[in-house]
Symmetry: C2
Subunit: 325 residues, 2 copies
């Protein structure tokens, strides 16, 4: 069982599959599980505190992991970057904001630098900065993202990136998506939704169950959960999550939500604490259709690899009908 | 040069590539060019008149072509269906609306029946109706469409469709997209943007040039062009086109457009007549990044096939590093 790409050499990993650094979901245990299964787990630095981050590094144990940050949030608490670089993670990924101010502190160490992009201009900037890898993220991704869709976006970024490996993200949760990403010219994939319901994920059991039984048709992009969480996200990005009674009430009435913000924030926080997913956000993407069980991350990753191999072998017979492969 | 799938047998064609029936763009000449190059061209019935349709059938000459209609529009002028079935096209494709009332008239003839879907519920309905093929269309497509993105949507539809061939649409304009679609489990692709700038396309030279020099980053989904054209589209679907001064003025102010509709319709129609693409719509999708020349449709299609073959051969070496293929 083997699919080797330049990404495997870059990170010294067996399979070209990365865990997306999902805030509050991708903790040390999940990142370690993905890394031990042969991929690369990224801890979701999110809006996290130093304590939380230390705790998750400890939870990862001796596994080789990386970390991902929300760039504009990191700019407000940049000591998290120092704390992270002291741990010498395999990779650091920045998304959503201006990564340039952080470059000098990252350069020169052993940590590989990944930038996630949602537009071609962002891709050009990452190439010019000489990053080690670029994640091209499509709008079908769960959580924060932009407007471009993975399938046409990835090859457009590949054409810009030239020798820099491109990692496809958004909508990929099984071996078919991995095989498709490779066909598009990506060197690997970054998966969030695919590991959201893993045993090792920090998501609640209820959230995992909601994700597993949900459909991509039932997700939408919106700003309402950010508003309800008091997160002042820049307008360039919004958040894909499952529809529920909270989205039904407010998605078409952002002004109404703002006018009732004080009480809605209380209601939302209470729902989050009570794990009431009819109000709290279940942050997964369109790939929800493709996840069907709560299981160890290793099982998901190994099935993904063997399914991708199977697809690529089968396609070989489409191209060369006389092949016995 | 050969990529054979069940779709090739279904339509008796050489390459599993269909021309999307783009209204006002996919006329008989373009449909015939795609069919003669080994794919299957679909004439865009659109909102067309009987005269227009007859004219385009004549323009297709003796080429084997199909026809696509906007279902809710066809329901208002269903004599177009009789006129079409008399011509015994290879395939009839219906999109955007309730196809069930048309089924009895289509069944039993030689014409294959294709339904295009944008949600999994629509896919289930098409499977239950026993259609001959399903187009799973992603939101990155140009023109009208829904909210799901191609990469995660296609495998989810494949899982529902079982033995019915699934055709991927949205964001596919080169061989990488075709190879990715096959990896996802599709039996072929339907391409609009990829052929928009073909020599044989009915789009104006100015629109073709705008599309070729544009980027997927510069497209957006909106209802404003439909409103400006006086087309009463159901709210389930909107239209992806290039951004221009008209979208900048009205996309965030639909109410303003409605309030100024009389004069804006006049302005829009005048721009359309004058081929002023800064106001009139250039209806292409995110795959605009991947089209780079105004050229014969045959050149586009044959490059797509050979690029897909090349990608799939290269990936084989990723899976089996010792292969000499």
């Amino acid at each position: 069982m083997s699919i080797r790409t330049p990404l495997c050499d870059l990170f010294d990993i067996e399979h070209p599959v990365l865990l997306a650094p999902m805030a509050r979901v991708s903790g040390g245990a999940l990142a370690a599980a993905v890394s031990r299964a042969g991929g690369l787990g990224l801890i979701g630095g999110g809006y996290g505190s130093a304590d939380w981050l230390e705790h998750e590094f400890e939870a990862a144990g001796d596994a080789r992991v990386g970390v991902g940050f929300i760039t504009w949030s990191l700019a407000r608490q940049s000591y998290l970057l120092d704390l992270t670089l002291e741990r010498a993670p395999v990779a650091l990924m920045l998304s959503f904001g201006d990564f340039q101010p952080f470059l000098p502190r990252i350069r020169g160490g052993k940590t590989k630098f990944i930038v996630q992009v949602q537009t071609l201009d962002q891709a050009r900037e990452a190439v010019d900065a000489g990053v080690d890898a670029i994640v091209a993220q499509g709008t079908e991704a769960g959580g924060h993202g932009g407007a471009r869709a993975t399938l046409p976006f990835v090859p457009a970024v590949v054409d810009i990136a030239k020798e820099i490996p491109v990692i496809a993200a958004g909508g990929i949760a099984d071996g078919r998506g991995l095989a498709a990403a490779l066909a598009l010219g990506a060197s690997g994939v970054l998966c969030g939704t695919g590991f959201f319901a893993s045993d090792e994920s920090l998501a609640s059991d209820n959230a995992k169950q909601t994700a597993v039984s949900g459909s991509g048709d039932d997700t939408e992009r919106s700003s309402i959960f950010d508003i309800a969480r008091g997160l002042n996200w820049p307008p360039d990005w919004n958040n894909r999550a499952m529809r529920n009674s909270f989205t039904q009430q407010w998605s078409e009435d952002i002004e109404g939500l703002r006018q009732n913000l004080a009480e809605e924030q209380v209601r939302f926080e209470a729902a989050w604490t009570a794990d009431d997913t009819d109000i709290a956000a279940v942050i997964v993407g369109e790939a929800a259709d493709l996840i069907r069980a709560i299981e160890p991350a290793q099982a998901t990753l190994h099935r993904m690899i063997s399914q991708a191999e199977g697809r690529l072998r089968r396609i070989r017979r489409i191209v060369e009908p006389n092949s016995k492969g």
